[in-house]
């Protein structure tokens, strides 16, 4: 297998690849249904676990985070003790506003969870310094390839389904996709030569080339 990439690093607006080449020796692939089902199941487990992971404060070291958690925990315990004491004695509650009490209760929950388990999602109450930025860039740079060279790839694929084991929708989608690759009408030679055109200009050229503008929004991927 050979992959070769030359990329310009001085372009800020686009990811400019002067050359992209990929080639694979002739391969035999033999897959059975049970393996595919188990593999996809495992991928789902990984994806779900990655979604459930807390957003860590990436800028800071773990030790610093732990230190701040301990400080917050002590502070929460202190405030709770003070609040309970005041409540028992029936004194006025001017020491803590309702907001402060709410905060201390939430911190208490957080500190209790810290006692139970180290890897818990952090409640960002009292730890405003570490709150991750809500601004997440959803847009990525457009890609431009000067030379996109896919060497002829020969793969002999053998697939054996196991009847009655798992008729998973994902598997049927994968099979439909692989079955449709052969008829995929990918024609790239008339795409715009400049990577700095606007999106409407790009879509115009693409429609002229392909003929059907809707196919760019098709959910079916490579085939239409």
């Amino acid at each position: 297998m050979h992959l070769s990439v030359v990329k310009r690093v001085d372009m800020e607006e686009v990811d400019f690849f002067q050359y992209f080449g990929f080639g694979v020796q002739e391969l035999d692939i033999q897959v059975e249904g049970e393996f595919l089902a188990r593999f996809l199941e495992f991928v789902n487990v990984i994806n779900n676990s990655s979604v459930m992971q807390p957003k860590e404060p990436l800028q800071l070291e773990d030790a610093e985070v732990r230190k701040q958690q301990l400080v917050a925990k002590e502070k929460a315990q202190h405030e709770l003790a003070t609040t309970d004491k005041d409540k028992d004695k029936g004194k006025d509650k001017e020491k803590g506003t309702p907001k402060d009490i709410r905060v201390s209760v939430r911190e208490r929950r957080t500190s209790q969870a810290i006692d139970k388990q180290d890897e818990i999602p952090i409640e960002w109450v009292g730890l405003e310094l570490f709150r991750p930025s809500a601004k997440i860039s959803a847009e990525s740079k457009p890609l431009y390839f000067g030379v996109f060279h896919l060497n002829p790839i020969s793969i002999l694929l053998t697939f054996t389904p196991i009847s009655g084991v798992r008729s998973d929708i994902t598997i049927s989608r994968v099979l439909n996709f692989t079955g449709a690759i052969e008829n995929a009408p990918i024609k790239l030679k008339y795409l715009p030569p400049s990577p700095f055109r606007s999106k409407p200009q790009f879509l115009n050229v693409y429609k002229q080339h392909v003929g059907i503008g809707e196919c760019i929004h098709a959910e079916s991927g490579l085939h239409r």
């Binding site: 050979h2 990439v5 030359v6 690093v9 001085d10 002067q18 020796q25 391969l27 033999q30 393996f35």
Partner: protein
């Protein structure tokens, strides 16, 4: 690769790995070459123990 059961799913072996990375002020050159790659299906009941392997044809002259 071991799944969450845990059970071995896949054994991947790569031979002859060569990676080149050259970074200059203007360009970034990256090249990977793998001489041989093979993936074994580690399920006990498999009928294809070798899942992916290079088909090396010997040319007769």
């Amino acid at each position: 690769m071991i799944d969450d059961t845990p059970q071995e799913l896949l054994y991947l072996s790569l031979e002859g790995i060569n990676i080149d990375l050259v970074i200059s002020d203007k360009n970034q050159y990256f090249e990977v070459t793998i001489a041989k790659a093979q993936a074994d299906n580690m399920l006990y009941s498999t009928i294809y123990p070798i899942m992916v392997y290079p088909n090396i044809k010997v040319r007769k002259e």
